[in-house]
Amino acid sequence: MALSPEEVNHVAMLARLALSEDEKTAFAEQLSLILDYVERLNELDTGEVEPLIHILPVFNVLRPDEALPGSSQEEILSNAPLVEDGQYKVPRII
């Protein structure tokens, strides 16, 4: 199946990727190829098959609510591109 330019725009918007026109053209073609390949999964009747969500049997993991040593505010902020008064700074929202 071929992805339309509208679909590519929509997915890029969902993924928050500002793609160039060249990228959009290339991805439309490449994703269509991959989706065609993936189509072969439909050869299998999986009507009665339970999806395998977890490889291992899983159960809730609990621990006492104790404060443990972690990274400091300074350390956490040290990788932020823009910081002001100990907080992340982003373009105006409101």
Binding site: L3, E7, V8, H10, V11, A12, M13, L14, A15, R16, L17, A18, L19, S20, E23, F27, Q30, L31, L33, I34, L35, Y37, V38, E39, R40, L41, N42, E43, L44, T46, V49, E50, P51, L52, I53, H54, I55, L56, V58, V61, R63, G70, S71, S72, E75, I76, S78, N79, A80, P81, L82, Y88, V90, P91, R92, I93
Partner: protein, 487 residues
């Protein structure tokens, strides 16, 4: 004596015997790096200062054993406290973590010395390291060929004598495929065997931390150190970690080994087929029972992986928003544009391609058709393995359909490139342990054999791999940069 050529155990013996110091090893490795790194291009970051410091400290204490005083490398997606961790992406070019991954922490606690951070395909997405945002690594057996990927820097460095072992991650073959291409040992343990805490996430239901080493014995030693339950990784398994080294007795007598006929088709070259069949005969000579079996859903593993891996990647990589860390577009006037521009500039083409594919597969109206379908097929794949493991202890196949390809040869051909993973992906889909060991040379290039085990039965895997190694010489072959082979 060129210390850089030695295995972890050989180095350990010499340290214990007082013949060498840890500083001697560090010196030998840095000298080796000075000679071959220009060609191999395996390292993103070298930790010279801290490596010398650690070696001196350990030598002053004067006690050795295990990996104490022995250097290692890390795929550059393991967070290292105070040391740049890039994931080979522009996005994280200047990222310095404030915490340490559990696996590297465990090595450090045992006296392992981090020598450097190794190249990969960006965020571990690729099969050649050509998707690294910085540079491609090269295969020490032929510098014009890829070392494989995504852990290509690790494999190139171990094969070229720059480092005795490295930790890496494997989502669809990222340890086993480069190990195969570079003629070394690569182990992907069972899903949940080793903590993933502090390792950049690609596809969380498939990712597993593992080892690249020069031989099976080293691999067993290191697995014992890094395996086990970690409170920081809820998916790590609370299952006893055996002393893997104790299983290495060279025996496979009575072991039941299956080889799936589907794994000898799927574009596998004639010489690789022949090489692995020959290896199977070796197992037979050693007393194993070898039989052909079928894993009927094998061909569906790769298309299902195309959905599962990108879908999980697209959600994992949603955290890169230009706010808390990573690349930030400084021009955007509003937050939405800042997200979209930062991500577009910070991620490379393969990462964007997979985010797009994953986002599409998870988008409204498509979830059932793609992700849910793939997860159902995943159960069929896991059931195939379970069926075979009712009667057999081990499954053996080629690791890759071909030997290492030329740099640039497949970069434009996405689908063909993904096919490199056809024989390794099913193992991740089923969460099983797999190891690649060298089993032949084909036209001067290493051929890898994959051994697949029951969940949490790495011991049998290592036992059989060790027995093969003891009765063959392929693991002793090392490349001479520029061509030829060193015995």
């Amino acid at each position: 004596m060129d210390l850089y050529k030695l295995t972890v155990h050989e180095l350990q013996d010499k340290l214990l015997a007082g013949e060498i110091t840890s500083e001697d090893i560090v010196k030998s490795l840095f000298s080796r790096i000075a000679v071959v790194e220009e060609k191999a291009q395996a390292f993103i970051t070298l930790c010279e200062e801290t490596a010398w410091e650690s070696a001196r400290r350990i030598d002053q204490q004067g006690e050795y054993g295990g990996i104490k005083g022995i250097p290692y490398g890390l795929k550059d997606l393991f967070c290292t406290r105070g040391i740049k961790t890039t994931c080979a992406s522009r996005m994280l070019e200047n990222f310095v973590p404030s915490y340490e991954s559990t696996a590297s922490k465990l090595l450090n606690e045992k006296g392992g010395i981090l020598l450097g951070k190794l190249n990969l395909d960006e965020f571990a997405m690729g099969s050649s390291t050509e998707q690294s945002a910085f540079f491609p690594s090269r295969n020490p057996w032929d510098w014009e060929r890829v070392p494989g990927g995504s852990s290509g820097g690790c494999a190139a460095a171990v094969a070229a004598g720059e480092i005795p072992f490295a930790l890496a991650s494997d989502t669809g073959g990222s340890i086993r495929q480069p190990a195969s291409y570079c003629g070394i040992v690569g182990l992907k343990p069972t899903y949940g065997r080793v903590s993933r805490w502090g390792v950049a996430a690609f596809a969380s239901s498939l990712d597993q931390v593992g080892i690249l080493s020069r031989n099976v014995r080293d691999c067993a030693l290191i697995l014992k150190i890094i395996a086990g339950k970690d409170p920081l990784d809820a998916s790590s398994a609370d299952i006893e970690v055996p002393d893997y080294s104790a299983f290495l007795d060279g025996e496979v007598k009575g072991m039941r080994i299956a080889y799936p006929r589907e794994y000898f088709r799927q574009g596998v070259t004639e010489s690789i087929r022949t090489a692995v069949m020959k290896a199977l005969r070796k197992f037979e000579e050693l007393g194993a029972i070898v039989e052909e079996v079928s894993l009927p859903h094998s061909e569906y593993a790769l298309p299902a992986y195309f959905i599962v891996a990108p879908a999980e990647a697209s959600t994992n990589l949603a955290r890169f928003d230009g706010v808390r860390y990573g690349w930030r577009d400084g021009e955007a006037a509003n937050v939405a544009d800042m997200f979209s521009l930062s991500r577009a500039q910070g991620f490379g083409p393969e990462v964007k391609r997979r985010i797009m594919l994953g986002t599409y597969a998870l988008s409204s109206g498509y979830y059932d058709a793609y992700y849910l379908k793939a997860m159902k097929v995943r159960r069929l794949i896991a059931a195939d393995f379970a069926e075979v493991f009712r009667d057999f202890d081990l499954i053996v196949s080629p690791t890759t359909p071909t030997t290492a390809f030329q740099l640039g040869e497949q970069i434009d051909d996405t689908l063909t490139l993904y096919m490199n993973d056809a024989l390794t992906v099913p193992v991740n889909m089923a969460g099983l342990p797999g190891i690649s060991i060298p089993c032949a040379l084909d036209d001067g290039l290493p051929v890898g054999m994959q051994l697949i085990g029951r969940a949490f039965d790495e011991a049998t895997l290592l036992k059989a791999a060790y027995a093969f190694e003891q009765n063959t010489d392929y693991h002793r072959l090392t490349p001479v940069p520029g061509g030829g082979i060193n015995e």
